[in-house]
Symmetry: C2
Subunit: 241 residues, 2 copies
DNA sequence: CGAACCATTGATGAGGCTCAAAACTCGTGG
DNA sequence: CCACGAGTTTTGAGCCTCATCAATGGTTCG
């Protein structure tokens, strides 16, 4: 059951070399430059490949260098809940730093690259990244709380819009076009994260498209009218056309 | 708007003295003994008194010594989401350790006592409690995820039962009777936490009572048939009587 | 004793889930 | 190159759970 989820790849390329690829100073850059001071092990994953499963012994943290992951928890009777979608700059495995085993599943949604940070080595790096680990833990809590608020108080359309705007903002900080969203997850996964069914997600997207706020083409979504989306999110019943 | 939320009280009593009050070795004891090595400032709060509000400058962490708190986040347009109910052994303000201002509201639901841990002093205590802070942050994330799973996948009755069983387990670790739950929150607050309306909470409790699983008397709830509750939680449609 | 506040119960309706079917995408192999 | 099949997305129809609105009774506190 616990096959080796990842395959170890070549050592990281030269320390300055990794930098020149980047067009801009991303939010992720600060942490990355820190990590490059200790040569991290690099792993590449294929779409739908698991990085780790809940219950597996935890030896490392993983820094997401590229690609998109979903993290999820499972109940005893098999119900799944996706707790987040992780992209460049995120740390996987943080939620169980204090435990010997992972507390969630991490699955690559597309081709991805992660840098492994063995716990043993993590001790050496302290306290330089200790405060950053703490900050990322606290940040995860605040992010979770905001989604709990959204899921608990917003309607279906509003939740979907909130997701699109959130993703757009994350794209912006990563130097990507915030108006052109390339989703890496299925409607079912999106619905699971938002506590909706896949049909409801689809219908919400169709409604937004009918209002001319977005253009939907499968998993490619273009934001046409961000202000309109924000109005929907704010609850203003758009009477358009 | 930002009145002084708390009133400073007398210095803590002697270090060994605080211990003799405890009948048993609680889960909370380990952290408490640690904190007592630095004399913490003690604050007492009255029911419905705020410990801090979101946005207020953050100078300290607060250890809950007694009483019950609710922590909540607010959206721009006034929607509230209760993120948890905190009891003895919990730390308030952890979610914003990396920030200059609080990220949530903390409100005492009954008479409560907290120990203040100023950030300045926190530096001295490191690294002795550093690992504990990290563990509590990660633990909060896992707890949030489990509730996101419950709220996202369970029906109304199941959510209420999950809450009762969770509270019962917490009572047990605190040395209280796990079958006799004294709720400190209103039905509306409970519903908010579970993403239900207060009426739905009431009805769920009434149904469980009708099935003979609990006895409800206002905020006093006695668990009569824990196995039955677990069956409801597991989704087994109880066809009783 | 009155005034809030809280809890309970009922009636009604809407939002979203379930079930079902069809169109579409994509990788595989004939 | 096209056909096939699995997985995904879209759309429709009907139903069910839970939110909403409303009324009553209980409790606490000034």
């Amino acid at each position: 059951m616990f096959q080796n989820a990842i395959s170890i790849q070549a050592a990281p390329r030269g320390h300055a070399g990794g930098w020149s690829e980047d067009r801009q100073q991303h939010a992720a850059s600060v942490l990355e430059s820190l990590l490059l001071r200790w040569p991290p092990r690099v792993h590449r994953l294929e779409p739908r490949q698991a990085l780790f499963h809940a219950g597996q012994p935890r030896h490392s943290l993983y820094y997401v260098r590229s690609g998109c992951f979903k993290t999820s928890v499972l109940s005893e009777d098999g119900r799944e809940k996706i707790t987040g979608f992780r992209m460049r700059g995120d740390l996987l495995g943080l939620d169980s730093v204090d435990m010997p085993a992972h507390a969630c599943d991490a699955l690559a949604l597309d081709a991805a690259e992660v840098w492994e940070l063995p716990c043993a080595r993590l001790q050496d790096m302290l306290p330089e990244i200790q405060s950053r680990v703490t900050a990322m833990l606290a940040g995860e809590i605040r992010r979770d709380w905001r989604w709990m608020l959204a899921v608990g108080t917003l309607g279906a359309d509003q939740r979907v819009v909130a997701f699109l705007l959130d993703l757009s903002a994350r794209f912006a900080t990563l130097g990507l076009d915030p108006a052109l969203l390339q989703l890496r997850m299925t409607r079912a996964e999106l619905g699971n994260f938002l506590s909706l069914t896949l049909e409801t997600v689809t219908r919400a997207l169709s409604r937004m498209q009918a209002r001319g706020m977005i253009e939907v083409c499968g998993r490619r979504i273009r934001i046409v009218d961000e202000a309109g989306l924000r109005a929907v999110l704010a609850g203003e019943d758009a009477r358009c056309h």
